[in-house]
Subunit: 499 residues, 2 copies
């Protein structure tokens, strides 16, 4: 077993800027895991000595040592008596359902998220990774028919540049849509965005300068964390309790750190599924009003409620002079992949937001905006969306019934009142990285919890999203996952004793 | 004539962040011009004393003094004997064609670009502001037909979330499209973006950190300048000569400032229309290779060539290991408002660019990508685009013939080899701000040159874009503009003696 003498492909994997990325040891571990999973680094191979690799990559030996330690904790390496670190494969994999053909299309070297995406699409795998609806259980078909009607005849006005705020037809239609959710808003208070993700990005780019503090929930939507990192924000985390963020911690942070912005996702929070109580929303609004800090409210899918009473959004509870930025996308419930959303903002900030929107992509596609305006004109969508919510409620029940039967009792989780995800915390001896590949090989995938933490991720957490999972596979997927967890928990040792 | 005692609406106009905006005196002047044009500040009104307004806005008196001076230079104010500054209207307006109804929809306070957009759409006005094709003289109809065909039947795969790089059908089709322009590229070298604007934004966000230097042409596309400002870049300007940027100045800047990126728009540059010679492209590529600095090449519309020999893009001249980022949109030539483009990048940087793309908007709309792939599958578009270029060549000739006859000889301009714009420099006694509103009232609008400068704008420059102008109005528009320029030049005094 000769030691590896090249750079392990790490130079390429670590190239480019690093703002908004994971810490270096994590990235090195991920790149090594990818190479091991691909068979490019075989079990038994000796990894390069720490100092030699550090010199080759021009980084600190401490960083390499940490990366090797993380690799060991994930089950992919072990220390050898007499020195050196040896590649191994996590060996405690109960059975192999989907052992190949794993993705053929080459991904970028060391790009873990791309590999996860590919794994999730592999044949035979039951995927719990995509937190959005299946096309057949969304209103995509009605939108398709609208688009077909609109494009059936020549119409030049669908193909032109418009002002960055959005097309007038759509801006005129959105207040009625929002009013059904108790939100009063005029066209002058809003911009059309290319999906909710862009709305988050626009607000943060407009408000936050590098080094400024921003409060986010712990855990939070990874797309928000990426936006905050890209802006150079200092992210302050507020723990989520059962009824929403810990307002005591929040008030303390507001006093000590004077953050620029507080970001919340109060309904069916992504990733935890937690819904903030009405009392807490009102208390949060009172804090916002008292301190003057701005609030970013991501409200992705209030329609997907399966139990409990609807709670108004914070924007619905607030007045026009409150510094509340409200984000609503149309992909999570209505039409996946449509890439349209709406951003509501205090009127005085709209000019600045429009500048950022124009800098970002000038405008959202005119024809898509026109089709959404047409789609929203027929209130028949309300009944269809309600029926879709009932179907997802049924799917959530199938999945949670199966999990309740099969998961070991040390697994921590709860059933959210809505949304297309569940949040699990593994038994104490387990680490998600250690079960991800065994689970994929057993034909079930999920989203590791790590990307949902701005810092110090809880390595035991994971998200199961069932929007894309065929209903007849929900129970089988739950069984596969529970089997892997039980099997790994029985034979595992705490990660801290490895390497 | 009592002095104005409120804050002139300036607090609202100056609110929000100010990254990526004009200097404060310019913004104050713009806000005042908007209020004067709207009739909210009438001729003869005395503006607040400099110190009082400075205190109210909590900014330096110097800034207010500069703003008042700029307002005077633009013809909207004059110093009063005995002190004070009085609002006036530029009085030398030869005739009024489009005196009302000026836009009714309220714009944001002090938002000059929004007002310009509204003026350009006013009835009776011949607009030279939009630098993109008219829907009827683009290939929008063919794209519409493709979209209609695609959406005619239920098809779930058009409505889903895809990887951020883009849909496979489109990624597979783009190499063939690019090969027709002499560019060799594989799907792994590219990302689909929401238009060229987003591609510029993604490259700069991925590569440039706040405070880092970036070289841009002087003048440059204002959308690029906005992107660089938003990233906190220190913008270094390289003057444009007749055959492209001054490479002597560039080499000096590269030595002294070690910029992260050099940005060029070598073919039919926006706004000047200048095309970089092949020799200069090769010399620039040699500089890039020698110094290792990255190059961002914006290639918006090489198809729109009306005279001279085609010149290969710098990307076409370069090899796979060169740090060249190449941006191509489909809105400027093919389908206005489609918001799709492609970004070619060195393969090692693609993972980082994909992270930024995902942070920005996750992905571009799936159905639009699918329709573009279908559209590009039928090479019949080549003949249609060639016919469109011939039609625009004819329109450029009509416009430039009329301008040649009518403009005073002190106006500096030239006829570009292609593209949908002309760049003019007014006679020495004139300032664009001074003629913009008189011209609009005489029924002709254009883009002031100011936004195309990162610093120290040349106040005599303006851009005429004729892509949207009906052909029968081109000569009349040229005559109106030339009449305003002649009239104002005859009666004007140098701006430096005002206030």
């Amino acid at each position: 077993m000769d030691p590896v003498t090249d750079d392990l492909g790490l130079l390429a994997a670590l190239g480019g800027g690093d703002a908004g990325r994971h810490p270096l040891p994590v990235r090195i571990r991920d790149a090594l895991v990818v190479r091991i999973q691909r068979g490019e680094l075989r079990a038994g191979t000796r990894l390069p000595p720490i100092r030699a690799l550090a010199t080759q990559l021009a980084i600190s030996p401490m960083t390499i040592a940490k990366a090797y330690k993380l690799l060991g904790a994930a089950g992919y390496a072990e220390a050898r008596t007499g020195g050196g670190t040896i590649v191994r494969l996590p060996s405690r994999e109960p059975r192999h359902i989907a052992d190949g053909p794993f993705p053929a299309r080459p991904s970028a070297p060391g790009n873990l998220s791309q590999l996860l995406f590919e794994l999730a699409r592999s044949p035979g795998v039951i995927g719990f990774t995509g937190n959005y609806p299946a096309p057949e259980l969304s209103d995509a078909e009605a939108f398709r028919a609208t688009l077909a009607r609109l494009t059936a005849r020549p119409c030049e006005s669908w193909f032109r540049y418009d002002p960055p705020a959005g097309r007038e037809e759509l801006l005129a239609r959105l207040p009625g849509f929002l009013a059904r959710h108790g939100i009063a808003a005029a066209p002058a208070d809003m911009l059309v965005t290319s999906g909710a993700q862009q709305a988050l990005d626009i607000v943060v780019r407009a408000l936050v300068r590098p080094g400024e503090a921003v409060v986010a929930e712990r855990p939070a939507y990874h797309g928000l964390i990426n936006v905050l990192r890209a802006a150079g924000a200092r992210i302050l985390e507020v723990p989520l309790l059962e009824d929403g963020p810990d307002l005591g911690v929040l008030e303390d942070l507001l006093r000590r750190e004077q953050p620029r912005l507080v970001c919340v996702n109060p309904t069916f929070q992504n990733p935890t599924g937690i819904t903030m109580s009405r009392e807490k929303r009102e208390a949060l609004l009172a804090i916002i009003r008292r301190t003057g800090v701005s609030l970013l409210e991501d409200d992705h899918s209030p329609e997907m409620r399966f139990s409990g009473e609807p709670v108004p959004s914070i924007r619905a509870l607030s007045g026009p002079s409150d510094p509340v930025f409200y984000v609503r996308g149309f992909g999570k419930v209505y039409v996946p992949g449509i890439r349209l959303g709406v951003l509501l903002a205090p009127a005085a900030t709209v000019p600045r937001l429009l500048e950022v929107k124009a800098t970002t992509d000038l405008q959202s596609p005119a024809i898509m905006q026109g089709a959404l305006a047409e789609y929203l004109a027929d209130p028949a969508y309300l009944d269809r969306i309600a029926a879709i919510a009932r179907a997802y409620a049924e799917r959530q029940k199938r999945l949670t019934d199966a999990l309740s039967r099969a998961l070991p009792p040390e697994t921590e989780w709860r059933i959210p009142e809505g949304g297309l995800s569940l949040w699990l915390r593994l038994p104490p001896t387990l680490d998600v990285t250690g079960i991800y590949y065994p689970a994929a090989r057993c034909g079930v995938t999920f989203a590791p919890g790590e990307p949902f933490y701005a810092a110090n991720p809880d390595p035991r957490t994971l998200r199961l999203s069932f929007g894309l999972t065929p209903p007849e596979l929900l129970a089988e997927g739950a069984d596969r996952l529970a089997a892997v967890i039980r099997s790994m928990a029985q034979s595992s040792v705490p990660a801290s004793v490895m390497v």
